[in-house]
């Protein structure tokens, strides 16, 4: 499973979630998480057509893709990780 995070420096939700991601990354050190900045990494970000609401979190595995849009709770992300890891 791969997780793509699309953030921006002006996005308050992205800022709020930094603490959550730090915790998740330390609890699940094997997760493949790639983080892009909406403004600085335009070329990469365009590939994912993120829309206007940030952050965008994309879970990908074996061609399956699920998106979470906007600020999320830690439990929501952990639930998605659990679901993707089961499949």
């Amino acid at each position: 499973m791969k997780i793509i995070r699309i953030n921006a420096v002006w996005c308050s939700g992205c800022l709020s979630m930094k603490k959550i991601w730090k915790e998740i990354e330390s609890e699940y050190p094997d997760l493949d998480i790639v983080s892009y900045d909406y403004d600085f990494d335009k070329r990469e970000v365009q590939k994912y057509n993120p829309g206007k609401v940030l952050p965008v979190i994309i879970f990908m595995k074996d061609g399956k893709e699920t998106r979470l849009i906007g600020e999320q709770k830690k439990e929501t992300i952990l639930k998605m990780i659990g679901e993707y890891n089961e499949n």
Partner: protein
């Protein structure tokens, strides 16, 4: 043309422009020791004294910047000077992007940033106090939200934070200065820009209590202050003082005038079935935020534009399809995705409000 987007920016007042042009003739570098330099320095000193008197701060507490974004960056990034004091910062979800930008920068350097909870769009002061830890070094809360006009209780917050001498309190007062009275007594740092009150773009200030020592953004020789190097911009500083003086010379009457116009606007708009007034009793009269359910904000903006009426959707410096500020007030996704902002100033006339209301009626009937 009917301009009702004063919270985004304001046109330059003719008198301010006149001051700028006259002050531009002071050709000397204020740091030069000759007569021309001294003349420019005297003009800057007089301007600084005037600004200090109006804001009731010390002259030494004024740091001129290019605007509020730079002032916010200086205040927040400058906190790195206090790394040994702590790395916990409290802010809100209602701030300008020039607050989140430097906070994101600090968070990459190990700072932890937390959002204070809100009640009816205002900071829950009790909850804020409970969030303070031994590691808290900065609290940054804007005085007035740019989208909804909701005024935060910054004076009360300042009083509470005095109990925590390690904590530095910063407020972005950009949407308050020149519109309402602001008491900076218990605020350690405050940022603003002149172009929000009929001044010129390119000048603003950070008001900083003398005891606070920041890491400068621009290092170099002493300018008007060691916290922001570069040749002092005599004409911009003089124009800032003039814009501020004009904004405060009739402030009580101006506030009454704007509040009356806002009341008329709200009363008329609330008669439409699909219109909700988002600005609440805490909002300043200069900002009237409404939602038109089922109509995209951009569609209404452009429909009004056809009648040469200029309003705005969300804050000019953000993106996204829903407004966090409106969501914080209403907890309603439909309202937060269909909001527009009508922003007034002391120069707005009743005729302009009538023009807006006539055009709005026409657009509403066409779009809803």
């Amino acid at each position: 043309m009917t301009y009702l987007d004063y919270s985004a920016t304001t046109p330059i007042d003719e008198e301010v422009l006149d001051t700028f042009i006259k002050a531009s003739k002071y050709i000397g570098n204020p740091n030069s020791l000759h007569k021309l330099g001294l003349e420019a320095k005297h003009l800057i000193d007089a301007s600084t004294k005037q600004i200090a008197n109006i804001l009731n701060v010390k002259e030494e507490e004024i740091i001129y910047t290019s605007g509020a974004s730079e002032a916010n960056n200086l205040a927040i990034k400058g906190i790195e000077n206090y790394t040994n004091r702590g790395k916990h910062i409290i802010t809100t979800q209602l701030e300008h992007s020039s607050i989140y930008g430097p906070l994101s920068y600090l968070s990459e350097k190990g700072y932890e940033v937390e959002m204070a909870p809100l009640k009816e769009g205002r900071v829950d002061i009790d909850a804020l106090e409970k969030m303070i830890t031994d590691d808290t070094v900065l609290v940054s809360i804007g005085a007035v939200n740019s989208e909804t006009g909701v005024r935060q209780p910054i004076e009360e917050i300042g009083k509470i934070l005095k109990k925590y001498p390690k904590v530095i309190f910063h407020s972005d007062i950009t949407q308050a200065v020149g519109k309402i009275k602001v008491d900076l007594t218990n605020i350690d740092m405050a940022s603003f820009a002149a172009h929000k009150f009929f001044g010129i773009k390119g000048i603003g200030a950070l008001i900083k209590k003398e005891k606070i020592k920041l890491t400068p953004l621009i290092h170099g020789g002493k300018s008007t202050t060691i916290y922001r190097s570069g040749t002092p911009t005599t004409q911009l500083i003089a124009s800032l003082a003039k814009a501020l003086r004009l904004s405060y010379e009739n402030i009580d009457n101006d506030i009454k005038h704007v509040n009356n116009l806002a009341k008329k606007l709200k009363n008329s708009l609330s008669s439409y079935e699909k219109v909700y007034i988002n600005s609440n009793e805490y909002s300043i009269g200069h900002i009237v935020n409404i939602s038109i359910i089922g109509v995209k904000p951009e569609t209404m903006l452009h429909a009004l534009e056809e009648d040469e009426i200029y309003i705005s959707t969300q804050s000019a410096c953000s993106t996204g399809e829903t407004s966090k500020a409106v969501m914080a007030l209403t907890n309603d996704i439909d309202r937060s995705s269909s909001s527009i902002r009508v922003s007034l100033s002391r120069k707005t006339t009743e005729e302009e409000i009538d023009k807006f209301l006539n055009s709005f009626d026409k657009c509403y009937k066409k779009l809803v």
